[in-house]
């Protein structure tokens, strides 16, 4: 009985994987970028620019890799973001969000760069921001870019904030911080906890 379950779950796992192998490209690109930057840290801006120009769909992963590998200070984070946006001007919000994810300390610097390029970038998310009558929630006119990155997220969580958005789960408001896995019995929902098996 246990064996049946074991093999069925392995099968299920493989079923997830099979049709989507190609999507791992950005992971491979980010690894390659990290290796290249680690070898030539002084050329990080050039590498970012060239790699994003060649792999625009992987802009997020490239920016994050560059910041992490160089252990960038706030100034360098802003420079990386600027270089990335110049290479992929339509991905201002995505690049901004990804940079902030790994370098929240550089929020002011990143947002300054982002604001400079945000106007006229033509991204899916409205720049109306805040809690305006039409801008408080997702706009169906914007949306996914079809490149596998799942669309351009907002430049800041507050930019598209509405009552349907949760605060405290993931930064884009998809899930509540409170348990949905274990709504009536157990604790928190995150599986990635330190209290793991065995």
């Amino acid at each position: 009985m246990k064996n049946t379950l074991k093999f069925a779950l392995v099968g299920a796992l493989l079923a997830v994987a099979a049709p989507v192998a190609s999507a791992a490209d950005c992971y491979a690109v980010s690894k390659s970028v990290a290796k290249e930057i680690a070898a030539k840290p002084k050329h990080v801006l050039t590498i970012v620019s060239e790699q994003i120009a060649a792999n625009e769909a992987c802009a997020c992963e490239i920016v994050k890799a560059a910041i992490v590998v160089t252990e960038a200070d706030k100034t360098l984070v802003a420079q990386i973001v600027e270089q990335a946006i110049e290479a992929a001007p339509k991905k201002v919000s995505l690049i901004t969000t990804c940079a902030l994810a790994v370098a929240p300390d550089a929020h002011a610097e990143v947002m300054e760069v982002s604001a400079k390029y945000a106007k006229g970038a033509g991204e899916g998310y409205s720049a109306k921001g805040g809690h305006s009558a039409k801008g408080s929630d997702y706009s169906s006119k914007g949306g996914g870019n079809g490149d596998g990155n799942g669309g351009n997220p907002p430049s800041t969580p507050a930019a598209q904030f509405g009552p349907l958005d949760f605060i405290g789960g993931d930064s884009t408001g998809n899930f509540s911080p409170f348990s949905v896995f274990l709504p009536s019995q157990g604790g928190q929902s995150s599986v990635a906890d330190p209290y793991s098996q065995p």
Partner: protein, 393 residues
Amino acid sequence: MKLIKYTAVASLLTGVASAQGLFDVNSNETEGESSPLKYTAGVAFGYDDNVSPTSAAAESDSTYVRGNVGASLVVRGAQTSWDISAGVGVTNYLDDIEGGDDTTYNANLALNINHRLNDRTRLVSRNFFNYGLDLGNFYGPITSRQVDEYVYFSTDNAIGYRWTDRLATYTGVAFSTLNYDDGSQSDVDSYSVYNQFRYTLSDQTVLTATGRYTYSDYSTGDSDRTTASVGFEHRLSESSTVAFQVGGQFGDNTSAYANLSYTAQINNQLKIRTFARYSQEDTDTVFIDPATGVADRYEDKTTLRIGAAADYTLSPQITLTAGGSYITSDYSDATTLEEGTYDLYSVYLGATYKINEALSVTGSANFTDSRSGVIPNRDYNRRRYEVGVNYAF
């Protein structure tokens, strides 16, 4: 038959995911960004000084070898966001275990979906399946490691509607089941319906008011309760949030209810998360009465869970994690079992050294102190030490 049912559910969830073109899996639903499909494989070697602590047998210590494989994917899109993670593992204890198996298996599958039907309407679905001896001291429905493997499955599906710019509701149904391999009388199915009103006070704050009705079906009876709570979700800064709910639970028993969550990315290196909850719970309420040898159920179990964890990135290669939790449960209203309290303290220390983008080495220590003078087989200590190698690709 039940095995087939749960296996089918797991396969179905996976199938749905594939049909939607999922290409990315990640076990951490707190991810705010897309993350490509990642596979992991790992082996670990460890020592456990009390392998089967809740069995009536004498303590057994053992070294063990564990292997696991997994996959994770996160897709955060403008219209649809979802994430999925799956993993299977096997642990082999190298010494004979009193009151337990020498080999244990575990598997889990998590799938979360948030789909925006239009400007005003959203569908949110969260699903979780686990098979094994324990989900984890703190987060699982069962606080202690069990003697037999069990299946835990939970699904929660809600539709959200924005009535005005500031007011929205989430209305949902939830189901969870706990089912032991040995046909234990601890099995329980729970059904819930709920509605949450959400009012946007500002760009940083949402007020909430929630009503939930839960019906739980045990092999030995049933119970129901209504939970009413009010609270808020608040963004303290760009990188820290707090959410709180307080209320009451009414039904077969009446008690207070509270839920608190706080997370903060302090800086590039340090992230902390805390959680507290006071609530009636339906699981882990059936025990064999040592005096009679007959299973008996506590009809009232109220639990306080407090936990905190911190991740510190020492360098791009080294991440340290530390966490601790305290869980205390008051048990009452059993037929023959004596009323009592059960306290569980846990401390976790861990470190990960990233050799390169794919390969990492981990080490961890886990200490558990379980205290109860009344609840059978819950007075024990347990220490686990483990080193492992993980490969991600």
